[in-house]
Symmetry: C2
Subunit: 154 residues, 2 copies
DNA sequence: GTTGAAATAAGGCCACC
DNA sequence: GGTGGCCTTATTTCAAC
């Protein structure tokens, strides 16, 4: 994981579909070298995949929310069960299992606030393990396009 | 945005680097047709980009946390200012601007808990607009690989 | 909007440095 | 580990349906 690897990872996070030749040109190395590096990064598991990003509004899902969920009892079975259940719902973008006063944070995207309400009533309220939940509408969500390595003493 | 478009978007979310020919073959259409559809989805803004996903452990950032932040006064300037500040920090993966008791949720990834502590002290404690914050370590983070369109009455 | 074929460009392998 | 050349394969354009 040297400087060249970091640069490759950064460029591919910005645009995963640029050609190998273009990437090699930007980095000032031969295309075959570049290809070898990229392949090694993939095999070592540094790059885990290539994904298209989509506009949630175009998919009729402009309303986002974060749902804090508390479950009981705090057993492995209950945690795993709810986690798997939530991650499998089509409205759910991602599930955070967290320490602290809440046990889960569930990021959802739905067509409108009515369907957010319906989602909570139909998918959450009926679950017996949920002892408490709270929903926060998301006004805005900014994602950092690139994730770079951090040193021990940044 | 018909069935074919949805199928293309789903496949490209799973693997953005599959060749156009392969994608066309899976969908049972001609490569040129497929290319035209993909280009249209990109131009219409349905597909916003193609990004490589990276393993945070490989980047020496295995410790993740969600930081709830409350700022005051709740003016446009303060909100915008903190949002831009947080999004620009290298430790930050994404920033949620939320309704409810907290104003922001900041998703960070750092090398270890010591650096999480340092981050809070150096980057947050000194900001005058922050009146309260709370940090929750993330035990696990599951992301739904595909985001599909949702109908008005799912 | 979709297709097939032809031209252009890229990916991938191998011998060499 | 990096490079340059050759062959294979894919992307892209375009005329026709």
């Amino acid at each position: 994981m040297d400087e060249l690897d970091s640069a490759i990872v950064e460029h591919l996070q910005r645009d995963a579909r640029q050609t190998n030749r273009e990437l090699a040109r930007k980095l000032g190395i031969a295309p075959s070298t570049c290809l070898e590096r990229v392949r090694a990064l993939r095999n070592r598991g540094v790059i885990t995949g290539y994904h298209a990003a989509v506009d949630l509004r175009a998919l009729n899902r402009p309303v986002q929310a974060l749902l804090s969920v508390q479950v009981r009892p705090l057993s492995r079975e209950v945690i795993e069960g709810f986690k798997t259940y939530a991650a499998g719902l089509p409205e759910v973008l991602s599930v955070f299992v967290v320490a602290g006063s809440e046990d889960f944070l569930v990021h959802v995207a739905v067509p409108d606030v009515d369907q957010l309400h319906s989602f909570l009533l139909d998918r959450f309220s009926k679950r017996r393990e949920i002892v408490n939940f709270r929903s926060s509408v998301i006004y805005q969500h900014l994602s950092n396009p690139v994730t770079t390595p951090l040193g021990p003493a940044e």
